[in-house]
Symmetry: C2
Subunit: 446 residues, 2 copies
């Protein structure tokens, strides 16, 4: 394929038609366009953008570069949630059991299907698959046949990407990373949506995060991404809604794989004080998912009430444990080992009276990564036990000597923890005047 | 090397410092930066440009990625000419013998050295090496030792790129071509100049062409390239001047390798009517070269008069033949075989009275390429005998039945000549009203 005319057209800001984009994606997946040409195209797209037609065509072509999941129950509403990623963002682990439990009660058994295909921790942000794997024995490496069986049995599954799903995105994703073109809205939207469309969805809720710990620092950028996600999803036949949420501080109290699973379990069991930010974001997303899946039977407010009511029952917690056990996880062993098995704990105490003004989500994400809890490159292995638990949140009053956070670190790990301890003190700021808590849910885009 | 910070800085329009550019070029040549990252950088440069500091640093780093030619006579002024390329652009073949002959007479034997490292025909434009090779036996594949010996003997040589000269440009050049970033002024200037600097020059004259048959359609673009060439060359210690010339029609009358060598010989021998455009451009460049090489002894006007005077002697023609024979060329055989040995001739005649308004240089270049006289890809072989000879030039009056041009084509060549014959009729336009000849030399930038 002679790729240069397509490349120079994009370079010069001329729109590419649907057929051109289709053949381009097919040729690239077939190895007929070398990476060094595609990477120049990606950079040209970074500068020129993709217009709505191009974005829709690229998303569709990427989606169709691989197989799509077959439907299971024709009458079920198949829905998923996608988050643009953040620090302490563990909502998927709560949403799946909560929405399944509530929908089974309110809309009928098997009325909702959640085919959850997730990603891994990379850079300062966490990934659902690593969190799930902190339960010993759990495996997200299931094939499409097993995924189908799990869907029949439970109405959901948790899996990682496979080679036959959206190969175009797998190739383009690593190239975007290597070429610093991840931030292009058009490329971001087509990457996110092509993967979700392969789940054969009826609807999707997007959690688009902005702020210091998010990929998009400014709310205006989040709105632009949200608008593009909405329009593209709808153009390709999927109902969609966008919730814009803050990532100025970590979501919830735990950052780190095992610690976050514990936090989710506590949340569903009502075992511990529930973090308000996590509750607000999770319940907003759950209510949107349930209302959409009800096909007009429930308003969002009614759906929210049903989800709250469901949290007073043991069902979501039971589904949570089932989520792990259905894919080989040994929940009992996870609990026996308790949190911070063989890690050391470091307490950071307040050295003054005052109020928490700022908790630097990105910095904390990087500290957890440095402690071994994340990946710098895709090849790194992850220490599932290390992490940070916040004891104070933005807006909280503190007294000198109060514990601000606890770091769970691995003794004897290469690289000194002392450095991270110093970083930790800079990640949290206490000021004399009262401060305002974070406004977690900024708006819902329809 | 972690190239991403450099890539994202350029993407965001942040200037790169000299040291960064140096290490980048070194790492790329050493294979530590993959092509797919460098190509994204090239596209980012296409959009963001290179500021003067970056341009100078890149040129210098590319230059120093390989060896430079050693000096031969310390007192000689070493000078070269570079053309941005065109159709029928054969000035190098005239300039070398003319300037050497004139300088030897006026400034003294060995006073000027011309180390000519040239390129090949590609796309619709011609290349000096292929033209030279139409003389049987001539070889531009000489090593640096042989080049040195030729410089001692004659004061010039004609050679192609070697692996040890400017490897960074060899790698970047093909990548620029594949990624549609050839048009970036900064990349263009660093590519041109790094190769010339490796000749260890004292001075250089740039022939920057604009118009339909040039890489730069608009004169304003040519001026920008010219200004960047001047500033960069001077910043790196080389005297420079830019002549802006038109490429709205082919230069001279012949297009095609053997035909152009014949035209140059005729020009130097006074054997045939001398084309005014070719004479004007060549003598302007020759006078600039001689004046610069005289280190202030001659004004450009005086240098021009000396060159004109030299053309009345047999010396330039003798140097012309020596240029081929010094590198194995059999001039006698070339002459015996005469032009258009085994080619067929096609005459295009005027079908109306009028005046020539337009001769489409790019189209004619492409026709010659299609007839086998050029390359679509670097791997193609070139038919040295085919080409087009113009019998009328823009501004000429024609009568119905006059021959406008003669095409020399290869009988039995794959692909029909009939198609090219049809193209030829569209490449030349005759109108009823008198037309203006082309203004070949637009300006000299100092």
């Amino acid at each position: 394929m002679d790729f240069k005319p397509i490349l120079s057209a994009k370079r010069d800001g001329k729109p590419l038609d649907e057929l051109t984009i289709q053949s381009m994606v097919r040729a690239y997946v077939d190895g007929q366009i070398p990476d060094y040409q595609m990477s120049a195209w990606l950079m040209a797209v970074f500068f020129r953008g993709l217009d709505p037609t191009e974005r829709i065509a690229l998303t569709s072509a990427m989606w169709k570069s691989g197989v799509s999941l077959p439907r299971v129950r024709p009458e079920a509403f198949r829905i998923d949630k996608h988050s643009t990623g953040g620090v302490g963002d563990k909502t998927s682990l709560i949403l799946v059991p909560l929405v399944i439990a509530t929908a089974n009660r309110v809309l009928g058994p098997g009325s909702v299907e959640i085919p959850m295909i997730s990603g891994r921790t990379l850079g300062h942000t966490g990934g659902t698959l690593d969190k799930l794997e902190s339960v010993p024995g759990f495996s997200p490496q299931i094939d499409l046949a097993r995924a189908h069986a799990l869907m029949v049995e439970n109405g959901f599954f948790m899996m990682g990407q496979t080679a036959d799903l959206v190969p175009a995105d797998r190739l383009l994703y690593s190239l975007r990373d290597a070429t610093c073109t991840v931030e292009s809205i058009g490329l971001m939207v087509s990457s996110i949506l092509s993967k979700k469309l392969a789940e054969t969805l009826d609807g999707i809720i997007f959690d688009v995060k902005f702020g210091g710990g998010a990929f998009l620092p400014e709310i205006e950028q989040a709105r632009n991404v949200g608008r593009a996600l909405l329009d593209t999803a709808r153009a390709l036949g999927v109902s969609a809604k966008v919730v814009i949420t803050s990532m100025d501080a970590p979501l919830g109290v735990a950052i780190g794989n095992r610690l976050e699973v514990e936090e989710c379990h506590n949340f569903l069991m009502g075992n511990a004080a529930i973090d308000e930010g996590l509750a607000l974001v999770t319940l907003t997303l759950a209510a949107e998912m349930l209302a959409m899946a009800s096909r007009g039977k429930l308003t969002v407010t009614e759906a929210l009430m049903e989800c709250r009511r469901e949290l007073e029952t043991p069902a979501p917690g039971q589904w949570f444990v089932r989520m792990f056990e259905a894919q080989g996880g040994d929940w009992e062993r996870f609990q026996k080992e308790s949190w911070s098995r063989s890690t050391d704990r470091f307490k950071l105490n307040a050295n003054t009276n005052g109020y928490v003004k700022r908790i630097d989500a990105r910095r904390l994400g990087q500290i957890v990564q440095n402690m071994g809890g994340g990946r710098k490159t895709k090849e790194d292995t992850v220490d599932l036990d290390v992490g940070v638990v916040l004891r104070k949140k933005v807006g909280d009053q503190v007294r000198k000597g109060d514990t601000l956070l606890i770091a769970h670190h691995r003794p004897g790990r290469r690289g000194s923890f002392r450095e991270e301890a110093a970083n930790l003190t800079e990640a949290i700021e206490v000021v004399p005047e009262p401060t305002t808590p974070i406004d977690w849910v900024k708006e819902v885009m329809v």
